[in-house]
């Protein structure tokens, strides 16, 4: 490994010329990123290698998981990112993923020709930072460096958040830079860490503050000590501080233990099956996500962390959520569910932002929340909620925000749905921002809702879920069925997901939302709602705007989460937007949505809502599918100030009152939603 101070990613051996000078190296990032590719298919392996080389990465290929693992063990800091196939003869890709996560803590990207929801979900729960669908296109590989950066960034955050006051002087941020600039230091740090039998933690801290954030390598022995300590304390009582004391490893910090504990909990959840989702969802929701998905953590950072610490959402719930979101049209049969889900989803915070939003709203307006993410799916409930939405548009905003932008109430996080890297494409730091916000605030309120997230989640979740980040969502509502999935019918499905193949996995989610809506029939659901909306609509141009906004919001929300999914989101949004727009009564939601959109829209820019009422009209009329093609949505948010929207909506509401009845939302108030 080059000892140059340069970046950690400098290749060990033939680093490119640029690596020599530390400064130069930094500028050239991600050139020279050290990638390890594992795939038993020689054709794919060769193609991937060529593609990665074309991206100017340093590639090492390997056709067996065992070989890869030993390579990694021998040279712990010799690689920056690992790309692995899921189906391999000698070892399951997920198992490899776990090992790497526990031992080396490198970002791992899974890939497969299999784009089934379950498999993708597994990737998420096992901690993959992204999931690519074969055939992999070079565009998908160009951005994998983001996972490396994100992980480092999150590690810092973990430290910060785990409450290491002492670490204050660590200046993680600085260390981050140090990271890039001092691979040598890192190496030193690590080794010094290991051999510090007599050093106490203080010394470590001092070292770390000057060094880049030291990354503890959890060797097998260390991990065993950790597990022993955890078992001794009892998994429920195992807090980092105590574990640290029990382990009594010099040089190990509480933060190290805390982050490792997070991962471990996630791992356990995964093992124990999804049974737990519902309970944990809200809380755990966030946490696992964070651990797993960089993006998530960044979103809520604090919130998630807390959540993670508290109890990691049962991976399962997340999974469920995600699965739901992914597009399992689970059978949302009743609308109430969607609503519920949404709420739950929102609670999860980020990616789920959608969900979170819903949640928040749910609290306020049962209906409102649902609208956000799922305007479409939420349908009846949402609509109803909207009516009830008296609560305040604010709530609506929240809900809308859940879509991603929940700007108003929920959290800016929501917008960040920073979807967990799941999709490199998606999450690329774009708009997803929304979701994250949702998580934090939402998390709390949502729990209360705990409604069958399925419903709501679907909407919001779908979008959000795209990324692994959705996990949180799933948690909140074990039920969450992830709105995402449900939307099976929604035209949105078509999410043209322009995104790269990788995203494809995500897209399905989006589609789900749409589907959900369809299921919901008569509810806001995308499809069915349209009918209703059409009837109701009085569409005034104004409404359209709002509606569009709403739609965009929805879309944006979705898109936010998925970022990569933007394409999807857009389509989704459009679809979703419709419901909201349509319903006069819904206007509220529309505004809310629109607001949400703004936030989300910004990030994702997705709201394909092609402005123009006509557009909406056509959209509404047609299946959401249309929307897909439109992906490059037009965000109205800019056009409409929230206040304007709100007032517009309110006005409409008055006018529309009767419309509401059409929807038969009577039972929809969140309270009524039969969860």
């Amino acid at each position: 490994m080059n000892s140059s101070s340069g970046k950690t990613y400098m290749s060990t051996s033939n680093s490119s010329a640029g690596w020599k000078a530390g400064d130069a190296a930094a500028d050239q990032f991600p050139v020279g990123l050290r990638v390890l590719v594992v795939d038993d298919d020689p054709t794919c392996l060769m193609i991937l290698e060529k593609m990665l080389r074309t991206c100017l990465y340093e590639v090492t290929k390997c056709n067996r998981a065992e070989t890869a693992l030993s390579m990694l063990r021998e040279n712990k800091s010799g690689f920056d990112v690992v790309i692995s196939d899921v189906h391999m003869p000698d070892m399951d890709g997920f198992k490899l993923l776990e090992h790497i996560g526990l031992e080396m803590d490198l970002p791992v990207i899974m890939m497969s020709a299999d784009d089934g929801k379950h498999v993708v979900m597994k990737g998420v729960t096992h901690g993959a930072c992204d999931y690519l669908i074969k055939p992999v296109r070079i565009e998908a590989l160009k951005n994998i460096w983001q996972h490396v950066v994100r992980k480092r960034k999150n590690e810092w955050k973990d430290f910060e958040q785990s409450g290491s006051v002492e670490e204050g002087d660590r200046q993680l941020k600085q260390s981050e830079e140090a990271d890039y600039s001092s691979s040598a230091n890192e190496g030193n740090w690590k080794s010094s860490k290991r051999r510090k039998d007599d050093e106490d933690e203080t010394d470590d801290r001092d070292d770390t503050s000057s060094l880049k954030k030291p990354r503890v390598v959890w060797s097998v022995e260390l991990h065993q000590q950790f597990v022993a300590a955890v078992n001794q304390l009892g998994i429920d009582k195992a807090v980092p501080k105590k574990i640290l004391e029990l382990m009594n490893v010099p040089g190990l910090t509480r933060e190290n233990v805390a982050s490792h504990l997070q991962k471990y909990r996630l791992y356990l959840r995964r093992l124990s099956g999804v049974s737990q989702h519902p309970s944990n969802l809200n809380n755990s929701f966030m946490s696992p996500q964070e651990a797993t998905f960089g993006p998530l953590s960044s979103l809520n950072g604090l919130d998630l962390q807390t959540l993670a610490a508290t109890g990691q959402l049962p991976a399962q719930s997340l999974v469920t959520l995600q699965a739901a979101g992914l597009g399992r049209p689970t059978g949302k049969s009743g609308i109430p569910m969607p609503l519920v889900d949404q709420r739950n989803i929102f609670s999860f915070e980020n990616p789920k932002l959608r969900f979170g939003d819903g949640q928040q709203h749910v609290n306020n307006n049962k209906q409102m929340n649902l609208l956000h993410g799922i305007p479409t799916t939420m349908e009846p409930k949402q609509l109803a909620g909207l009516h009830h939405g008296a609560q305040s548009m604010g709530n609506m905003n929240m809900q809308v925000a859940s879509h991603g932008s929940q700007s108003s109430q929920n959290n800016p996080l929501l917008m960040q749905m920073a979807q967990p890297q799941v999709r490199g494409q998606m999450l690329n730091d774009t708009s997803l921002g929304h979701p994250p916000r949702l998580l934090s605030p939402m998390g709390q309120p949502i729990l209360s809702n705990g409604i069958a997230a399925n419903v709501s989640t679907r909407n919001g979740i779908q979008e959000n879920i795209r990324a692994p980040s959705y996990n949180p969502v799933s948690q909140t509502s074990s039920m969450l069925n992830f709105p995402m999935n449900h939307a099976a019918e929604l035209p949105g499905n078509s999410f043209p997901l322009g995104s790269t193949p990788g995203i494809s996995s995500l897209t399905p989610k989006v589609a789900f939302q749409e589907d959900v809506n369809s299921d919901i029939k008569g509810s806001v659901g995308f499809l069915p709602s349209y009918d209703i909306f059409n009837d109701l609509n009085q569409h005034k141009p104004q409404n359209w705007e709002l509606q569009n906004v709403g739609m965009t919001l929805d879309a944006s929300q979705h898109s936010n989460s998925l970022q990569g999914n933007l394409n999807h989101a857009q389509s989704v949004l459009v679809q979703q937007g419709f419901p909201s727009g349509q319903v006069n009564g819904q206007n509220r939601s529309a505004t809310v949505v629109s607001k949400a959109m703004f936030s989300s829209g910004d990030s994702t820019g997705h709201v394909n809502v092609q402005n123009g009422n006509q557009h909406l009209n056509s959209l509404l009329v047609d299946s959401t599918v249309r929307i897909k093609s439109e992906t490059p949505t037009i965000l109205y948010p800019d056009d409409f100030g929230q206040e304007d929207l709100m007032s517009a909506l309110l006005k409409q509401q008055d006018a529309i009152a009767p419309a509401e009845h059409e929807f038969d939302f009577d039972g929809y108030s969140l309270d009524n939603i039969p969860v």
Partner: protein, 154 residues
């Protein structure tokens, strides 16, 4: 045949393959990856694909020939073939694999046997086409010409 003529032939032939669904956009990606530093990239990858696929098809035939068919194993092989054919851009082979997997799930012996035949058929077809295409390219290069880039206008 002079170079220009050969090039035109190549372009037309390639277009037909795309039109008929033998190849898809992924193959274009491969072609784009080929450059001066790797002038034989496509040939190498395609050869690798052929070798690997034939091995897989053999394994599949054997697996389906057993008295007690292990569908999990069959599915794993098909999945693998699906992955590599999609990476190469052999669309029809990939689609045949997808159908194959569905029947594997149902554990339908007759249907899977038929699927195997179908996959084999598609494989040999595309193998033939690719060999022709690569041969054309070779001839052009041997005659001093350069390989025209495929334009996906359609």
């Amino acid at each position: 045949m002079e170079v220009g003529q050969m090039q035109r032939r190549l372009v037309d032939y390639t277009k037909t393959l795309f039109m008929e669904g033998f190849l898809d956009a992924q193959f274009l990606q491969l072609q784009q990856l080929q450059d001066e530093s790797n002038p034989d990239f496509v040939v190498e990858v395609v050869s690798l694909f052929f070798d690997d696929s034939e091995k897989l098809l053999n394994d599949l035939s054997m697996a389906l020939d057993q008295p007690n068919v292990d569908f999990k194993k069959v599915d794993a092989h098909v999945h693998q073939l699906k992955g590599s054919s999609s990476s190469i851009g052999a669309q029809r082979v990939k689609n045949a694999c997808i159908a194959f997997r569905n029947f594997c799930e149902e554990q339908n012996i007759d249907a899977t046997l038929r699927c195997l035949q179908q996959v084999k058929h598609e494989y040999y077809l595309v193998k033939n086409k690719l060999e022709t295409l690569l041969r054309l390219e070779q001839q052009i290069v041997a005659a001093g010409g350069s390989i025209p880039a495929t334009e996906m206008g359609f």
